[in-house]
């Protein structure tokens, strides 16, 4: 059986990769995809800890097993779908305005 630390370390590694991508890349689409990777990492940690702490907690139980982490991951997926829809709409509007998707061209509020 894989211990839960392996899952958590994998989740942290994915989060770091996604964070570096968000900081380094200037293509707005790639930055959004990096955010997806980071949220996936968070979901993985939540589900792994839920699996190892089955009997903890009184909420979201079914057959004596707590599902808090999985329910939270479900809500993260729902929020992320909303975030991607609005984010890609903003990317399209930005492209229509400036004919590019580079994030450093979005400097309308500068000075």
């Amino acid at each position: 059986m894989i211990p839960v630390e392996h899952y958590v370390l994998l989740s942290a590694l994915l989060f770091v990769i996604g964070g570096v991508g968000f900081l380094v890349r200037r293509n707005v689409l790639v930055a959004l995809m990096s955010i997806e990777v980071m949220l996936n990492a968070a979901n993985l940690a939540l589900v792994a800890y839920n699996r190892s702490h089955l009997a903890r907690g009184a909420a979201q139980t079914y057959a004596g097993q707590s599902h808090t982490g999985q329910v939270l991951a479900f809500f993260i997926i729902a929020a992320e779908a909303a975030e991607v829809a609005v984010g890609l709409a903003i990317v399209l509007a930005f492209y229509r305005l400036r004919r590019t998707v580079r994030s450093d061209e979005a400097d309308l509020l500068r000075n």
């Binding site: 894989i2 200037r26 689409l29 995809m33 997806e36 890609l88 709409a89 004919r99």
Partner: protein, 220 residues
């Protein structure tokens, strides 16, 4: 049997990390989207290994079926403009920020791993019964303890649909752009859009329409 589970975990983990690296490193946004798809599929496989069957299905349907397809739609819609040419402006700041974050993250990761090895305290992974993580269990949790956030998430999705439609359509009904929008649209981008076909995309065979062309001739 245990070795099979271990091999499954490591294959999924390797694929997930490879997909994440290709999201970050690939030049072509289509390849980035494919890397994201690979990461999502591997994380769904890990969810299956963690007895989260319902979440694995949701992951496949929502992420791979909706989010990646939405990204691909936008990349195809933008065509050649979706891949930005690389230049060196702001390179030092970006490398510094990304490097600090990456090094800090990796350092804390190794520290946590060594601490976990040093304590020799194994967190038990109890074997759940068959109902754990199934659609019945998640549905029961969603409609009893998590009912209010569940209903609120439907409101969130509704607002997101309306907001995305409003933002992406722009001011279609307006006859002209406002003065501020004209001022913004008149400014040419500080770089030339790519002309050569080094990207895939539906419109990659034709040069993107140069809307800033006529404004460049008579700058304000």
């Amino acid at each position: 049997m245990a070795s099979l589970a271990t091999a499954y975990f490591y294959v999924c983990a390797l694929l997930a990390v490879g997909g994440a690296v290709s999201v970050v490193a690939a030049k072509n946004p289509i390849r980035c989207a494919m890397g994201l798809l690979l990461t999502i599929l591997s994380v769904a496989g890990l969810f299956l290994a963690l007895h989260a069957q319902f979440l694995a299905a949701i992951q496949l349907i929502v992420y791979a079926g909706a989010i990646v397809i939405l990204f691909l739609f936008v990349i195809m819609l933008l065509g050649p403009a979706a891949s930005t040419p690389s230049d060196r402006r702001g390179l030092a700041a970006r490398v510094l920020g990304g490097g600090l974050f990456g090094l800090g993250g990796l350092a804390s990761l190794t520290l946590v791993a060594r601490a976990a090895e040093a304590t020799h305290r194994v967190i038990p992974m109890p074997q759940p019964d068959g109902a754990f993580g199934g659609i019945e269990a998640i549905g029961s949790a969603l409609f009893t303890d998590a009912l209010v956030p569940f209903e609120l998430s439907s409101a969130l999705l509704m607002v997101a649909v309306v907001g995305a439609t409003a933002v992406a359509r722009g001011r279609q009904g307006a006859r002209t752009m406002s003065a501020g929008e004209q001022e913004i649209a008149r400014r040419p981008p500080s770089h030339e859009p790519p002309r050569e076909l080094h990207t895939s995309g539906v419109f990659s065979h034709e040069v993107p329409p140069q809307e800033g062309a006529e404004t460049k001739e008579n700058p304000a």
